[in-house]
């Protein structure tokens, strides 16, 4: 009998469904529940955690909890060590790959590399000098004090010097370049200096033709240069090369970037490309697409910036003041005032305080912002 053969098909074709009004009622219930969750998170965060704690207090969870504590202890131990104690001494080379990162003492610099061959050329109280021989790495450098130098040598006579910023550098067989995500960097090449602004890329003169090639200006370099070829992570076949799109203008570039992110979710450059996607979509007047782009930024170095920009969009373009204010409050509670993102995060919160008519909240936070700025100035 055919039923014996087709019973799977028969089952598949018979899907349960409910009347439209039942679905509508359930959706209304869901909206109500979501609203109550949002209210609970705003007004009484601790009771909302109660079921979570109850689950963790079950005896079977204790082993996991203890293991977690032990792991956190180990992580804290290693994070609190200075670079010297990480056995990275001056003159020593290290390879950063597949999302590795190093948090140096007081978290003033983080590195996320992609097959990045870095050598610590010099490391003392005033100077951190690295040499990059190959690969790609994103640096998140917190503001340096007066007289302190952070420098990455990309090629002979080509260095990136920063005060406090986030930028990505790459070196391959053809070129060495720098992309700036935040702040400003100075590219010193062949005796000439050039400032590179956020969103821009500058390239070192080809070391083989260093004297023949003048250093390109950042904007023209960004649009006219061929996209850089970045070696993929070591876990993938070495012969495979994936081209990272280098475009940086709204319009068709957004589609190119989003396609890259979707087609290469495991690519080491995906976070940087997703951040560019979000920014260009926002600049091009498509905030929804921008939010999608930001949501793909997973790198611990770039994700906080994506989070901030996505909150700005949600507050300014979608009018989600209450939810964004809630997120900002939680973020600010755990954000050190010395962190470079503290000021922009706090400023967005001040803006929302003003919109909500809470002048005292805005003033109080503004005092905190100016206090942190004073402390930083004093520190320098």
């Amino acid at each position: 009998m055919s039923a014996e053969r087709d019973w799977e098909k028969t089952l598949r074709e018979h899907q349960y469904d409910l009347p439209a009004q039942t679905w509508q009622r359930m959706e209304n219930d869901m909206r109500g529940w979501l609203a109550s969750q949002a209210r609970q998170a705003q007004t009484a965060p601790l009771p909302a955690l109660a079921p979570w704690w109850a689950a963790w207090l079950r005896p079977s969870r204790w082993g996991v909890a203890l293991a977690g504590l032990a792991l956190a202890g180990v992580v804290f131990h290693f994070q609190s060590r200075d670079p010297g104690s990480l056995d990275w001494e001056a003159g020593q080379a290290r390879v950063f790959d597949g999302g590795q990162q190093v948090a140096w003492e007081d978290a003033r610099c983080e590195v996320q590399g992609t097959n990045a061959h870095l050598t610590l050329s010099r490391m003392d109280e005033q100077t951190i000098q690295l040499r990059m021989d190959q690969g790609q790495a994103t640096f998140h450098v917190q503001p340096r004090r007066a007289g302190e130098t952070f420098q990455v040598d990309l090629a002979k006579d080509c260095q990136v010097q920063v005060v406090g910023t986030t930028f990505t550098v790459g070196v391959d067989s053809l070129k060495a370049w720098v992309d700036v995500q935040e702040g400003r960097v100075r590219l010193q090449a062949a005796g000439e200096g050039q400032f590179v602004d956020p969103g821009a890329r500058a390239q070192c003169p080809d070391s083989r033709k260093a004297s023949a090639n003048p250093m390109p200006k950042s904007d023209s370099a960004r649009t006219e240069d061929a996209p850089p070829t970045i070696p993929v992570a070591a876990s993938q076949p070495v012969s495979v090369q994936v081209e990272v799109p280098a475009c940086n203008e709204p319009g068709p570039c957004v589609t190119v970037l989003s396609n890259f992110v979707r087609q290469h979710p495991g690519h080491p450059a995906v976070s940087e490309v997703a951040l560019r996607w979000g920014r260009l979509a926002a600049r091009g007047g498509d905030p929804r697409d921008a939010l999608v782009g930001y949501s793909h930024v997973k790198s611990p170095v770039l994700a906080p910036m994506a989070r901030l920009e996505s909150l700005q969009l949600r507050a300014r373009e979608f009018g989600e003041q209450a939810a964004v204010a809630d997120s900002l409050d939680r973020w600010l509670a755990g954000l050190k005032e010395s962190h470079p993102l503290f000021k922009p995060v706090a400023q967005l919160r001040v803006e929302l305080y003003r919109r909500q008519g809470n002048d005292s909240g805005a003033r109080s936070l503004e005092e905190r912002i100016s206090g942190s700025a004073t402390a930083q100035t004093r520190g320098r």
Binding site: A3, W7, E8, L11, H14, Y16
Partner: protein, 201 residues
């Protein structure tokens, strides 16, 4: 269930489940409701088939989405959203089953519901009285409902969700070989059940 969909509420932007989940995790209620609308019918079928209790379906669907909302922060993207969400739905159904059985052990009023028997015990295909009055389709569904949960769950995930062995193995946290074996036994039992129908006068 497509990985990618277009939805009027989000204009012309192509949005994947993973995108929606990421946005919902940041507190975007609209993104969460998009996920809800997109997956609720499918979840309904899954919970009815997994729990065997259509009367509890609404509650289980809602509970699945409540759990989804609470767990969004832990979605790391290692598996697809679809596979990950399946795991949540299955856990919700398991939890409901355990609660009913606990109630039964305590002697609650509803404890003797036949469906509860079906959830945990091996029913030897003696569903003749139940199914004889129904059409073939209902008979087949009866055969499925009479499978022990152990065998029914992989089959439901395979038939209704189209999941492969690897995904089912990850969702149920059992080796792929066990999934294969349970699917084999489930199919064998349904074939036996269908033979009983043929044997009926």
């Amino acid at each position: 269930m497509n990985q990618t969909s277009r939805h009027g509420d989000l204009g012309n932007v192509t949005v994947t489940d993973e995108d929606l989940a990421a946005r919902a995790a940041t507190g975007d209620e609209r993104a969460f409701l998009e996920l809800y609308r997109k997956h609720r019918r499918y979840v309904l079928t899954l919970v009815v088939r997994t729990s065997g209790r259509p009367e509890d379906a609404e509650d289980l669907v809602q509970e699945s989405f409540f759990q989804l909302h609470r767990s969004l922060g832990s979605f790391s993207g290692r598996s697809s959203f679809r596979t990950w969400f399946h795991g949540i739905v299955v856990r919700v159904c398991h939890s409901a089953t355990r609660n009913r059985l606990a109630q039964r052990r305590r002697g609650d009023a509803d404890a003797e519901h036949m469906d509860e028997e079906r959830m945990e015990t091996e029913v030897g295909g003696d569903g003749r009285d139940h199914a004889s009055q129904h059409a073939l389709k209902d008979w087949i569904q009866g055969c499925l409902d009479h499978l022990p949960l152990l065998h029914r769950l992989p089959l439901v995930l395979h038939i209704y969700s189209g999941l492969d062995l690897g995904d089912i193995s990850r969702i149920l946290s059992i080796p792929e070989g066990s999934v294969k074996s349970r699917l084999f036994h489930a199919r064998k039992r349904i074939a036996l059940c269908l033979q009983q129908r043929e044997a009926q006068p």
